[in-house]
């Protein structure tokens, strides 16, 4: 029984983290039509910026996280505005650009910080015990922040002019432009929003796990899987799928071990796509 509950706790934590990453990834895909191969790179930059602020500049951790978000958002903005924007409708070109950016980022981090893991810990330590279940305090805090960020993102997308404009651009870019929404201003904003989320996740999660120039690789794979499971371009789908992926990953690893666990997740996604190719909440648009 305790394994069951422990797995649930782990799964929900994972789900919240994956949700932040998947939401950013699907925002970029839905609004810009770009598959962001550099998503893991922004995650790592978030981690390394926060590490640098704490370890090298001696700043308090919460401030370091905010700086990491600002830095990754700014970098995303600049990258979109000056590089992606020119080739935004050429899907192959944008794929190459984001892939190239990822290679530059991971090799750059390797060169600057070296291949070994950094000393970077969460400022709060220890676990809370609920009977036989252990919940590390850092996990609870990160879970809380992730859920708050998801809520904040929802508010921005569904309760502000900016959010409405982004969703309109995702639905029909031409008509949105004709209503006065400017892609040249809004696309960098959307990209920055997504990369800022990735940076936030990196700044929060790398001190819990480890920080080295390789930790960005699985981020892309998980984001991709989650977004496809949830339905490309669907925000609700991405969030839902993220929690499903986190929980399935936790349970299958706990009960089947590390190798079979990964297999279970991919098999489930494969089966789901066979019966429902558009993903869980993939769009079914009524052409009227």
């Amino acid at each position: 029984m305790e394994q069951f509950l422990q797995a649930a706790v782990i799964g929900i934590s994972l789900g919240a983290q994956y949700a932040l990453l998947a939401l950013g990834f699907t925002l970029i895909f839905g609004i810009l039509g770009v598959v962001n191969f550099a998503h893991g790179g922004f995650y790592m930059i978030g981690g390394y910026v926060a590490y640098s602020c704490v370890g090298l500049l001696g700043l308090p951790y919460p401030l370091a996280v905010l700086i990491a978000v600002a830095a990754t958002a700014a970098l995303g903005w600049v990258f979109e505005l000056f590089l992606l924007e020119r080739l935004i409708d050429d899907h192959l070109a944008t794929l190459m650009l984001t892939l190239g950016l990822y290679l530059i980022v991971s090799n750059g981090l390797l060169r600057v910080f070296g291949p070994l893991s950094m000393e970077f810990s969460f400022p709060v330590s220890g676990s809370i015990q609920f009977g036989p279940i252990y919940v590390p305090r850092e996990n609870l805090i990160v879970l809380g922040i992730c859920l708050s960020a998801i809520l904040a993102l929802w508010l921005v997308l569904f309760r502000t002019d900016l959010g409405r404009a982004l969703r309109a651009l995702a639905d029909d870019r031409q008509v949105a432009m004709a209503q006065g929404m400017r892609p040249k201003l809004l696309f960098p904003a959307a990209f920055a929003l997504a990369t800022g989320l990735a940076g936030l996740t990196g700044a929060l999660v790398t001190p819990i796990l480890a920080l080295s120039p390789g930790v960005g690789d699985p981020v892309l794979a998980t984001s991709f899987l989650t977004v496809i499971l949830g339905g490309l371009g669907s925000l609700g789908g991405a969030a839902l799928a993220a929690f499903i992926v986190g929980i399935v990953e936790a349970y299958s690893s706990v009960y089947f071990g590390g190798s079979i666990g990964a297999l279970v997740l991919f098999t489930l996604v494969l089966l789901l796509l066979v019966f429902r190719p558009t993903g869980l909440l993939g769009r079914e648009i009524r052409g009227a």
Binding site: P115, L116, S125, A210, G257, G258
Partner: protein, 388 residues
């Protein structure tokens, strides 16, 4: 008068020719390993050891080949820690006529290079922990340092002395050859010493080990051993084990990386009770190597204890080359190599080993170290002498 001038002129030109010939004669030896990427330290340490050993021989005039004094030159190749990298390297070096290679480093490289080097009739060394690092059918392959098959038993005994409460252990390692070859051998050593052992393997690339830890703690082990998990992973495993309430000792019967583990896990207070394998039991004589390096090569050494660990293999190879009088006949050099006693002016005395584990006695076994941290304090690194 004219005759003496002519004689003098002839003598000078003869001397000049001889001197010129000594400078022209170079004997090429190869060095191989990952020199870029995450494992770059290890490859650079291999090349560094080869260069130092070569410089030492050249300082005494070089190696005599066919009556000529030749300078030994080391040619490096970056095999990138992959099987195809090492195989390509063997061919690339062979095309330059190089038959003696110090390197490569890791398991995938060893696997890749063995058949190709055999075809090219090249002598190679490797530092892999794989179960087939040496094979009887590849007599030109030598092993720089022993894998767990050789030292795990002695290490378990030493760990049990400090942590006698260990009656069961859970091993955690990646699920590829780099993990299974070591963890499975460790498990045997534990069992041979009366400790129950279970093995838990994870997908390489996993970043969050909480589910795996939940799983292995369900068997209630007294200790958890991270085997050959990369240090970054091991650090997270340690951190998450302690957060899950695990209070037992943690072991590492695998490769180097204690510093990184300390960094990632949060320090000695978190590690609490820890025992780990040190490839080299450091002495002052070993530290001298760095000074010798600086003096002979005029630059800072790279690779730390890894370079020291590779040095006996490099030096013994140079000695074998000198004794054989050739760099082109690998079989002849190998024969001379086998005759040499295992000893090094800085690293001390060792043994030829490997017959039991691999069926061929071509492994250099020097004293190794077992580090102990108890109650969050460093107890020290015990020196374990090589035994057969």
């Amino acid at each position: 008068m004219k005759t003496s001038v002519t004689l003098l002129a002839a003598a000078f030109s003869l001397a000049a020719t001889v001197a010129a010939q000594a400078q022209d004669c170079t004997a090429k030896v190869g060095a191989m390993g990952p020199m870029s990427g995450g494992a770059a330290q290890w490859g650079l340490a291999m090349a560094g050891a080869a260069e130092l050993a070569a410089a030492e021989v050249n300082a005494t005039g070089g190696v005599t080949i066919n009556g000529k004094k030749c300078k030994i030159v080391v040619v490096s190749y970056d095999s990138k820690y992959t099987a195809d990298g090492a195989a390509a390297g063997a061919n690339a070096l062979a095309s330059e006529g190089i038959k003696i290679i110090i390197g490569p480093v890791g398991s995938p490289e060893a696997t890749g290079i063995k058949p190709v080097a055999a075809r090219n009739e090249q002598l190679t060394w490797n530092a892999a922990y794989a179960k087939n690092a040496l094979e009887a059918k590849y007599p030109l392959v030598f092993h720089i340092a022993p894998g767990p098959g050789t030292w795990s038993d002695a290490m378990v005994k030493h760990a049990l002395k400090h942590f006698p409460q260990i009656k069961s252990v859970a091993l955690v390692a990646p699920n590829d050859q780099g993990g299974t070859d070591i963890a499975s051998v460790d498990a045997v050593a534990y069992r041979n010493n009366g400790v129950k052992a279970t093995e838990e393997y994870y997908q390489r690339g996993t970043t969050n080990f909480a589910p795996i830890i939940t799983r292995l703690l369900a068997t209630n082990p007294d200790a958890v051993d991270t085997a050959s998990s990369p240090p970054g992973d091991a650090g997270v495993i340690v951190k998450q084990l302690r957060l899950a309430g695990f209070k037992g000792p943690i072991g590492r019967m695998g490769g180097p990386g204690t510093e990184e583990i300390l960094r990632v896990s949060g320090g000695m207070d978190v590690l609490k009770d820890f025992y780990w394998f040190e490839t080299v039991a450091v002495t002052d004589q070993m530290r001298e190597i760095d000074n010798i390096y600086r003096k002979l090569l005029g630059k800072e050494p790279v690779g730390g204890t890894a370079l020291w660990g590779n040095l006996p293999a490099a030096r013994m190879t140079m000695k074998a080359i000198v004794n054989a009088g050739t760099v082109e006949d690998a079989a002849k050099v190998a024969a001379e190599l086998r005759k040499l006693p295992v000893e090094d002016p800085n690293m001390g005395k060792g043994l030829w080993a490997g017959q039991k584990q691999y069926g061929i006695n071509q492994e250099l076994f020097f004293a190794f170290g077992v580090g102990i941290i108890k109650d969050g304090k460093e107890v020290g690194i015990a020196r374990i002498e090589p035994t057969n």
